[in-house]
């Protein structure tokens, strides 16, 4: 068996979920190859080559792949598919965009967002926002899989794989990348941060998120939000933790003014320690919190900041 993994990266940095995906691939077993696209500096390919257990890194340098457009990337993956039993990607927006397109080109049924590898054909994945777990067996010859990063340990960066260059891509001419508006932040990235502090509708206003940012800076935490806070326009959508946003599993998750709707719990309930601060004693968030503080957040949050020194 051989496994090909599409690496995810942003701003020249290998995304940590690639390391989790390599761990999932190791559980399947076989030779592991990584594909890096849109990496003109070669920095990401180098980082990928240092992941332990990786045999080879394919660096696709063709300009048509620079912005990871699905219409150009899926055919490249298809052209490589014959050599692999499994083609995997982290279940990030790039993987979610490209992999189903690949699966349909290969006439196989994708297995989305796996959280457990049973064997080379069988995988567990959440359905209904994680309210049920489904174990499925695939009969397809090539398995196309996206991997939930938080469900697998990060692979160690102690390897030295060979890097091979690929130039065989074509521009399908169907789409053109124009620009990105990326949220810039000095804080750690939400899905890989060791501590996450999130605000909900109880924050009342986007400006009040500054209170959470102060605490985040003291703890080295990322700032997240519930869908309610995003819908209310307090913060941009890339803050969203939940079924339709990001799935996080930090060592510490602090939910501030979040009631705990099923959709939100789906995105954070695998966190190691959960703290809830909410003035409503009956809020469902307290049913999953290790430490609950029933208090008005506008009193508790500034006090917390002071206590942290």
């Amino acid at each position: 068996m051989s496994i090909l993994i599409l690496c995810d990266h942003e701003n020249g940095q290998l995304h940590s979920t690639t390391l989790n995906t390599v761990s999932a691939a190791k559980q399947i077993g076989g030779n592991i190859h990584l594909l890096v696209v849109g990496d003109p500096s070669g920095k990401v390919a180098k980082a990928a080559a240092s992941i332990g257990g990786v045999e080879k890194v394919l660096a696709a340098t063709n300009k048509a792949l620079e912005n990871k457009l699905a219409e150009n990337l899926a055919p490249l993956l298809k052209s490589l598919a014959a050599g692999y039993s499994h083609i995997m990607a982290p279940a990030n927006t790039t993987g979610k965009n490209v992999m189903p397109r690949l699966a349909a080109l290969l006439d196989v049924m994708q297995i989305s967002d796996i959280i457990k590898v049973i064997d080379a054909d069988k995988f567990q994945r959440p359905i209904y926002a994680g309210n049920a777990l489904s174990t499925v067996s695939s009969s397809d010859t090539t398995k196309v899989i996206t991997v939930r990063g938080t469900a697998f340990e990060a692979a160690e960066e102690n390897g030295s794989a060979a890097i091979e260059t690929l130039d065989s891509a074509e521009d399908a001419g169907l789409s053109i990348y124009m620009k990105s508006e990326l949220s810039s932040s000095e804080r750690p990235e939400l899905t890989s941060a060791p501590i996450v502090i999130s605000g909900g509708r109880g924050m009342q206003d986007g400006a009040n998120f500054a209170m959470l940012e102060k605490i985040a800076d003291k703890l080295g935490a990322a700032v997240g939000a519930s869908r309610a806070a995003v819908d209310a326009g307090f913060v941009p959508n890339d803050y969203q933790v939940g079924q339709t946003g990001k799935v996080v599993a930090p060592d510490l998750y602090v939910a501030v003014g979040i009631s705990g709707a099923i959709q939100h719990l789906a995105g954070m309930k695998d966190s190691k320690v959960i703290v809830a601060i909410n003035k409503d004693e009956e809020a469902p968030i307290f049913q999953v919190a290790d430490y609950g503080l029933v208090s008005d957040l506008f009193d508790a949050v500034p006090e917390l900041e002071k206590e942290l020194g």
């Binding site: 912005n67 489904s134 169907l174 789409s175 999953v288 508790a300 206590e307």
Partner: protein
């Protein structure tokens, strides 16, 4: 331009799902069903395109058991012009759905397919991308902004780090995200009117598409529940617990 809007019938998002005792799936009997919320956003966007004079006809299509016609009626009540129901098993997979939708696209020749980015039952997030692949069309996924100008459209995509703008060539598949719009409610007169709108029904087997499942569901189970912890009296106690007991700060 015709706009095709695939709509899925799923368990209403307010219902707490229950796993069947024999672990074969989740309980669907006597459970309130509704249109997949992301598909409602797709219907709404199609209506707005029509209201802006950029679309002439909106066709809602749903694939599944006979009851899916109710979901199509909901789309018609919102304002879609006609419906197509394709009779198929409840648990049909996204790949098969994409193949059936391709057959409908070939019949109807729409200039745009608008669909939810994922269904809230199987959470697959595949159908739109697969349909785009099968048709060889461009795709704009997880879209929170859409501007169509003739042969091109500019979409704003919700990506991990923020937003991405891409230009796609029409005809195209656009999968919609939450922030694109807020769907309207159907008014009572429109619900009545929807009953008279045309709804054509076909059988999946008549479309010459292989819909046999590729995945076998071995087991569906409840996730481990997380036990509630303790309530702390004040911030001081919280910080000391996090430092000394949980050792996370």
């Amino acid at each position: 331009m015709k706009v095709l809007v695939p709509v899925k019938r799923v368990i209403d998002y307010n219902v707490k799902v229950r796993v069947k005792a024999d672990q074969s799936g989740v309980e669907l009997a006597n459970v309130k069903m509704a249109m997949n919320p992301f598909d409602e956003i797709a219907v709404e966007q199609a209506l707005r395109l029509k209201e802006a004079g950029k679309a002439e006809e909106i066709i809602a299509v749903s694939i599944g058991p006979t009851q899916n016609q109710e979901t199509i009626r909901t789309a018609l009540a919102m304002g879609a012009d006609r419906g197509i129901h394709i009779e198929a098993p409840q648990d049909i997979e996204p790949l098969a759905v994409a193949k059936l939708l391709k057959a409908v696209v070939v019949q109807e020749n729409p200039g745009l397919v608008l669909v939810g980015k994922q269904a809230i039952d199987d959470d697959c997030n595949q159908t739109g991308q697969m349909l785009a692949a099968l048709l060889g069309w461009s795709q704009g996924t997880f879209v929170s902004g859409l501007e169509i100008t003739g042969e091109k459209a500019i979409v704003i995509r919700e990506v991990d780090g923020g937003l991405e703008h891409i230009e796609i060539t029409m005809p195209a598949i656009v999968t919609v995200d939450l922030r694109l719009n807020e769907p309207r409610y159907a008014s009572l007169p429109n619900i009545m009117k929807a009953k008279k709108k045309p709804l054509d029904s076909q059988n999946a087997t008549d479309l010459g598409v292989d819909i046999a499942p590729r995945l076998t569901i071995l087991k569906v189970e409840e996730p481990e529940t997380r036990a509630a912890g303790v309530k702390v009296a004040n911030v001081k106690e919280l910080v000391s617990k996090l430092k000394d007991e949980a050792k996370v700060i």
